[in-house]
Point group: C2
């Protein structure tokens, strides 16, 4: 990772803001640790990454990000173990994915050395913001935005890569109610659904608001052409347990290739739980719900780890999921978090110590 060779410009905060933060009552994504990283792409090159105190920045109102949504992001977490060591979970996956997203959005890829050197420096500076235990973590948000000034619809020639961080407690902790999409869609074939492109998210807020008005928490998106196949939720991949098997959709150009999803598939294999990675039809799930064979639905994602779905609506019918004993969701969540918090041996080499 030869991250040590990279020059960074670091300006430390004069006095930490940490004492003003109530870590027992965090609102997700609202508080920011003391520092942030930014690195500009100018004249065809990524410049020296800078670490500075978190705070507002100046942008041109004509910056392309505001007009054309040329922007991508990532979400990852740092975890602190009982010995105050700080760990990242499969960070190379996020690094590769942001570049995959960038490529699709015509954004220049970011160098691996810049990414890891600045991320590590940032975490070292803000290590006190990573809290131990109980679902606590430091949420890390790398993102890239188009900063060229000019309102013509073509790719920018300037970009800013940034990393900001937010202390986080357990997110989405209670079970959620979902609806299977029948009118709206998240992504087109040949579109940008597989990328963490900013616009994919804003486009979901209105349909999600409509779902909330019906008393549901989130939408499970289906394929845009037929609405017959279940794909993923707004910020989570989705698993269905029918009998003792887990089912999840294969990733494609509409679906985000989630790090948590692939980790759960692996953990399930480790425990000899069969995972069928194949198209999951609405029909099959509705029938399994009716016959009682559908035991669980859960979502997987960095922010939430695993979230239990307690029921779903389809065709105006609401299906309650049973409250089973020893759900896979709970089991694999613990299994995953034990690795993330360095409580068990990491046989897959997924974690990376930064401090």
């Amino acid at each position: 990772m030869n991250s040590t060779d990279i020059r960074l410009d670091i300006t430390k905060i004069p006095k930490s803001r940490i004492d003003a933060v109530d870590f027992e009552n965090l609102q997700f994504g609202k508080q920011h640790a003391d520092h942030m990283m930014y690195c500009d792409f100018i004249d065809g090159e990524w410049q020296t990454p800078k670490i500075v105190p978190y705070g507002p920045m100046q942008f041109e109102p004509s910056a392309k990000v505001f007009h054309y949504g040329q922007a991508v992001f990532e979400g990852m977490k740092a975890f602190k173990d009982e010995e105050d060591k700080v760990w990242l979970f499969r960070p190379e996956q996020n690094f590769q994915r942001i570049n995959k997203s960038s490529k699709r959005m015509a954004i220049p890829e970011f160098p691996e050395s810049h990414f890891f050197a600045s991320l590590e420096a940032l975490l070292k500076l803000d290590k006190d913001w990573v809290r131990k235990g109980g679902g606590n973590s430091l949420y890390i948000r790398p993102f890239v935005i188009a900063t060229e000034s000019g309102v013509s619809a073509s790719e920018s020639d300037r970009y800013r890569f940034m990393i900001i961080t937010c202390p986080a407690q357990a997110y989405y902790s209670k079970p959620i109610k979902v609806i299977f999409a029948q009118d709206y869609s998240r992504a087109a074939d040949g579109g940008v659904g597989f990328a963490k492109a900013a616009g994919n998210y804003g486009a979901q807020f209105y349909p999600t608001k409509l779902a909330k008005e019906k008393g549901l928490d989130q939408i499970i998106w289906t394929d845009a052409s037929s609405h017959e196949y279940l794909e993923e939720a707004g910020t989570m991949n989705i698993f269905f347990r029918v009998g003792d098997k887990l089912f999840t959709a294969p990733t494609n150009d509409r679906i985000l290739d989630g790090v948590t999803r692939k980790s759960i598939i692996q953990l399930a294999k480790d425990k000899n739980v069969e995972v069928v990675v194949d198209k999951v039809s609405v029909k099959q799930i509705v029938e399994a719900a009716k016959s009682g064979e559908l035991k669980e639905i859960f979502g997987t994602g960095t922010a939430a780890a695993i979230v239990r779905v307690e029921g779903f609506e389809h065709d105006d019918v609401y299906y309650d999921l049973p409250d089973i004993e020893e759900p896979y969701g709970t089991f694999f969540k613990k299994n995953l978090q034990d690795i993330q918090y360095n409580r068990v041996e990491d046989t897959h080499g997924w974690t990376r110590q930064v401090i």
Copy 2:
């Protein structure tokens, strides 16, 4: 329009920057007139619109627009006639459309009175930036961005509505070569294609870059499910002339309902040119190209008015369009611009004088 009742906060530029601008060599969207308008949505209400000198502004790096692309925009123009009167073209269409876009992106709608009062005040201040004749205009870019600070994927509770302007010469003046999309897509059924949502544009840059590498200028998007029907270009609706009839796709939830498109449909009717508004299949157009019945393809949009397509590629075959005499494209472009520049009587009540 009772725009006179609206309070505006106006801060004028100490000295105009206009003398530094070379109006003969404008790069589209790069220069900005002296002033801009912004209006914040805070605590559930649009505040007093402010007009200030154009310049950079401070934003939180965690502002939702950067992460979730919750942003929409419009594009319209002001034209100056020979008597120095300044005209807008169907501005109520842009006003209605930005609110339609906003609704789909879960952004609060902007009040009509705020919109017109501030737009008129802005144009009055910057009237010297609207140049007469020869395809000159002042391009007007209203846009709305989500400004709440917080990296959780849900709609913002703060927004900024802005209007910036750019002096413009004729845009895309030369004929273009296009390719009919076969791999990538612009919009999903049930998605946000009909909205001028920022993310729709950034998502096109990469496929367009690939098209440019093949020597083509733009993509004509097809429906995402089958790629069999021609929909629209990146920033233009598309018309096909087969024999003496014009064909254009009906608008739907994937296609932007262009103001120029609907104006051309009306102007064609006025001149007894038949316009068939129905699905346009790739097959039909390729066959018409082969048989010689395909006379013209042109794009329509505010930035460019009408742009001639000189040829298209499909299935790796490039089809040249004939160089016919008296093309509809040229005819209707003149017809439209005569109305926009107040050179002929506006029988449809489309133009609106602002100065």
